[in-house]
């Protein structure tokens, strides 16, 4: 049986209403991984537009956002043709109890704040590869 090779991570979409978090995440990833393209969105609706334009490899989604929070945004992403199977990672400042609850949702991982910007890209690559594994095994 021929195995599907694990794809490389190329396109990351980070969604957070805090511009400082967006700047740090982008800077940290692009400093270490020049081959990864980082797009950012400051709201759930902006994220939906960007995903509609081009499906990212992975979406990093803040939980607490005004207007449309992370769980609602995830729900709406799943309704998009280009979003129904995109891996989504929650990035949250909530505590462990809430993170456990989030892990039951339709996400591939829950990452907590604070995070290391320079290690953030490696962490996402690991999550991405883990998410690819079931498809590669199939």
């Amino acid at each position: 049986m021929m195995e599907n090779p694990v794809q490389n991570l190329h396109d990351v979409l980070i969604v957070d209403d805090d511009p400082d978090i967006l700047m740090l995440a982008r800077l940290g990833i692009e400093t270490v991984h020049q081959d990864i393209n980082v797009r950012t969105a400051c709201s759930g609706s902006d994220a939906l537009n960007l995903i509609s334009e081009q499906q990212p490899d992975i979406v990093v989604l803040d939980l607490m956002m005004p207007d449309m929070d992370g769980t609602e945004t995830l729900h709406r992403i799943r309704e998009l043709p280009s979003g129904h199977d995109v891996p989504v990672v929650f990035l949250t400042a909530k505590g462990p109890a809430h993170q456990s609850w989030l892990e039951q949702s339709d996400c591939v991982a829950v990452l907590s704040k604070p995070f290391s910007p320079l290690a953030f890209g490696d962490r996402l690559k690991q999550v991405w590869e883990d998410a690819q594994q079931p498809a590669a095994d199939a």
Binding site: L27, G28, P114, F115, S116
Partner: protein, 322 residues
């Protein structure tokens, strides 16, 4: 004296020999009225201290409720100086809600700290990295300062809360048994209170149940115990009201099948220990003794007989599987 809480919810419940609630008072009364005596006694046997149950609220007081309310209720059996037993049901939901809200507050504070901390810590980490442009370094410094200022605002807010707590502008109220006793006493004094009385000396709730009520509660307890074990015979429980309140109570019990009768006021070490287990404050009180006996004997069959009493309350309970 603590101030009575308006949030306090309380009910007093009596269960008759058929397992029906025959007397309910307090502001939980309507919800609990739909619990059968057997249900209440089953809860008492299995969870003698506290439990969470779903109570049913009444719809306009006439029909069974369509609304289910989850409450944290505490059931207690307490002795009465007159020889009775008191069953209290206290709603702990307000206290549990406070606890939940406190947890939420801590979670929110943690969240509010983590977000700016992410920016500050991240900025410091990135500033340590040599490959950044001057513009990037300037952005990181601005971000760090902005978020440090945000954290200071949070600390100032917490300081204000501390002051509010100290001055009583924010406060937490808890439910106390003496409050319940006083509240139910005041309520029942205004209405029918023939079976209710309050004693101030213990500082505890002392709403008395009549001997008949005591017996009915015990009936429910025993019925529940036997039902759980698939009892197929007939239970007889005999409870007699003691004429002389100060005289020693004589209790005799044994397994229903008649194996090994035990006289609880025997002086033998083994039986004395059993007896002590059922004595509260050195004096047996009929209802509590029997209730504790029922709970302690949850895995056995028992039959009670009390002698030397003037008034008798005798019940023959139907077999559970009939």
């Amino acid at each position: 004296m603590p101030e009575a809480s308006n949030d306090l919810r309380f009910a007093m419940v009596n269960v008759n020999r058929k397992g029906q609630v025959v007397l309910v008072s307090g502001d939980l009364a309507q919800e609990l009225a739909w619990y059968s005596g057997a249900e209440i006694t089953r809860l008492l046997v299995r969870f003698p201290k506290a439990l969470r149950v779903v109570t049913r609220a009444l719809d306009r007081g006439l029909e069974r409720a369509r609304l289910l309310i989850e409450r944290d209720l505490e059931f207690r059996l307490l002795p009465n100086p007159d020889g009775g037993v008191i069953l209290t049901v206290t709603d702990l939901s307000p206290a549990m809600k406070i606890q939940s809200e406190l947890g939420g507050l801590i979670s929110t504070i943690s969240h509010q700290f983590r977000t700016p901390l992410t920016s500050i810590q991240g900025a410091l980490e990135m500033l340590d990295y040599a490959g950044l442009t001057d513009a990037q370094r300037a952005d990181l410094l601005r971000s760090g300062r902005r978020n440090a200022a945000g954290m200071i605002r949070i600390v100032e807010q917490l300081s204000r809360w501390e002051m509010d707590l100290a001055t009583g502008r924010i406060w937490v109220r808890s439910a106390q048994i003496p409050q319940i006793g006083r509240e139910i006493f005041e309520q029942t004094q205004a209405g029918k209170s023939a079976e209710l009385s309050v004693s101030a000396d213990q500082g505890d709730i002392v709403v008395a149940a009549s001997p008949a009520s005591i017996a009915s509660i015990l009936s429910g307890l025993l019925e529940t115990l036997f039902a759980d074990e698939g009892f197929s015979g007939e239970i007889m429980m005999q409870v007699r009201h003691q004429k002389n309140q100060d005289s020693e109570v004589s209790v005799r019990l044994g397994h229903f099948e008649g194996i090994g009768w035990t006289k609880l006021n025997d002086t033998s070490a083994e039986n004395q220990r059993s007896w002590q287990d059922m004595v509260v404050d050195g004096q047996a009180t009929s209802g509590l003794v029997a209730a504790q006996l029922a709970v302690a004997s949850a895995e056995g069959k028992l039959w009670m007989e009390r002698s030397d009493w003037e008034t008798a309350y005798c019940f023959t309970l139907p077999a559970a599987n009939e």
